[in-house]
């Protein structure tokens, strides 16, 4: 299942949802939340799991349910704190495992992603679409050339490098600021 998850497999995701979401949902609702909060939190937890599964070095030492529950619990506590709705008597009936490392890693990654997304926004069009087409949608250079109206693939490639260098500059400028 975790391999399926790492490969972004819809079936694996659906199974995990079906088996675990109800527990998380009732936990969130019991602790001052709305069902929609449960969807948000669960999604975030799935992303943590996804990153873990992708890293390959992940050995689940407890049940998946427990693991997800622990992560959701941390995420929810955090959200409550942020909104000044902290509820000291937060209910914990299920067993939990420590997930501090995951949380830390996840937060760092989130920050990096924000940086990258910010940088992508800043470089403007057509650079943004061009880079997205190549690096995210994995389109080939000839395809990109015709979609963006470049005369040939080499031309598109040159453009892409120009864009990439700009993006890199922006990204690292911010990245080093943060450090």
């Amino acid at each position: 299942m975790l391999t399926g998850l790492a490969a972004n497999d819809t079936n694996a995701i659906e199974t995990i949802y079906r088996e675990n979401f109800a527990t998380i949902r009732s936990f969130i609702i019991k602790n001052n939340g709305f069902p929609d909060d449960a969807y948000d939190i669960f999604q975030e937890a799935m992303i943590v799991l996804f990153e873990k599964a992708k890293s390959g070095s992940f050995n689940l030492s407890c049940q998946l349910q427990t693991y997800l529950y622990s992560i959701c619990r941390r995420l929810w506590l955090k959200k409550l704190q942020k909104q000044n709705r902290y509820n000291p008597s937060i209910e914990t009936i299920e067993e939990i495992v420590p997930v501090e490392d995951e949380m830390e890693l996840h937060e760092k990654k989130d920050k990096d992603f924000l940086l990258m997304e910010g940088a992508l926004k800043k470089i403007g069009e057509p650079c943004k679409s061009l880079l997205e087409a190549f690096y995210m949608e994995k389109k080939s250079m000839p395809e990109i050339a015709s979609a963006f109206g470049y005369t040939n693939a080499d031309n598109a490639k040159t453009q892409k490098y120009k864009c990439l260098v700009r993006l890199k500059k922006l990204f690292f400028a911010q990245y080093k600021n943060k450090e």
Partner: protein, 366 residues
């Protein structure tokens, strides 16, 4: 070394496109030149970031698709849970405020009741117009004819030659060729033709038409039609919220036209609870077009607008589609499968439209 060349080399190295000799040379170069090594690790880190971001994005989209699907199936007994907890929660927090507010609301409703009733008397005179374009003018006919000729010359399937006297919009409910439109669009039509963005025309026949809800479902009967996959939108069973931003695609002209607006009331003409009132600019020809929210869910189908008022448009609620499908299943034993995975969420509007365009059809006939 040229920087572009170096970057190119790094990318090929990472994706395993280098042959052994080149790889060795590259690794050697890295070892011997600290500057290059620096660039390589920096660029690798950067590309990792970019790739991770893209992977996470597609994963997120997949997640939302699954979530929507399960929500649509009502796996988590959405309704009672949501209602109860929300009410209890809000009640506990705002008990006192509610009491005060209720008192004030009582007073206000008392004073405004008279004013409103006065207005509604006038409103009885209002008429609603269906949004089918019956007056396709001469000029468009000519254009059509020319278009037909051109199409006939280039495309293989023989297209029925006929003069349409109405034009409206429809969209796919099922990739195997079921199209949703309005009942008033097709009720008097002898021949119906649907046309996609590319201009391919297919003959179609109504298999369901309900003049009360104004919902009709057509089946593309043309053998030239090939099943299409990946309908990007889903159909919620729940009622959309006031003020939700919405948009539509339709054929008030020969070309597809985009329009956006918002949900202005949860009921339609004369309090009709089967439809919404929306505020959007539409014209004859928009009838049967999908009303889509920002997440790419089809919340309704455009049907009519109030003649005497500007921007008062009515749309049939999407849950009526489910009722229609049940009836079709019962009467004709045809199973229509609505799409369950939404791939429009989190895309910007331009991309959403690009994905949508192929599934919105022009409905013509005479």
């Amino acid at each position: 070394m040229d920087e572009n060349l170096l970057l190119d080399a790094i990318e090929r190295y990472r994706s395993g496109q280098m042959d052994e000799a080149e790889k060795l040379f590259f690794e050697e170069l890295r070892k011997n030149n600290a500057d290059i090594d620096q660039v390589v690790s920096e660029h690798s880190f950067f590309l990792d970031q970019l790739e991770n971001l893209s992977e996470q994005k597609s994963f997120r989209q997949n997640l939302k698709g699954v979530e929507n699907k399960l929500r649509g199936e009502g796996v988590f007994s959405e309704n009672d849970g949501q209602r109860k907890s929300k009410v209890v929660y809000l009640w506990n927090r705002y008990r006192r405020t509610i009491a005060v507010a209720a008192a004030i609301a009582g007073l206000i409703s008392f004073t405004t009741a008279t004013v409103i009733s006065k207005y509604s008397e006038n409103k009885k005179a209002a008429v609603i117009t269906p949004l089918v374009d019956n007056k396709l003018n001469q000029f468009e006919h000519k254009l059509n004819q020319i278009e037909h000729k051109l199409n006939d010359a280039t495309a293989l399937p023989v297209k029925p030659k006929f003069e349409a006297n109405f034009r409206a919009t429809g969209f796919l409910a099922d990739g195997s060729g079921y199209i949703i439109t309005n009942a008033h669009v097709v009720q008097n039509a002898k021949n119906i033709i649907v046309e996609n963005k590319k201009g391919d025309q297919f003959s179609a026949q109504p298999i369901y038409s309900n003049t009360v809800t104004d919902l009709a479902i057509l089946k593309i009967t043309d053998t030239a039609f090939k099943k299409v996959n990946g309908l990007p939108y889903t159909f919620p069973k729940t009622t959309a919220e006031l003020a939700e931003p919405i948009f539509t695609l339709g054929y008030p002209r020969e070309e597809v036209v985009y329009g956006e607006g918002y949900l202005s009331a949860k009921s339609g003409y004369y309090g009709d609870t089967a439809s919404y009132q929306i505020s959007i600019s539409v014209n004859p020809g928009n009838s049967g077009g999908p009303v889509i929210d920002k997440d790419g869910e089809v919340i309704g189908i455009i049907s009519s607008k109030e003649t005497n008022a500007d921007g008062v448009v009515f749309a049939i609620k999407s849950k009526n589609i489910y009722t229609a499908l049940k009836e079709i299943k019962k009467d004709k034993d045809i199973t229509i499968k609505l799409p369950t995975v939404n791939s429009l969420r989190d895309l910007d509007r331009v991309k959403q439209i690009k994905k949508l365009e192929d599934f919105v059809f022009k409905v013509k006939g005479n």
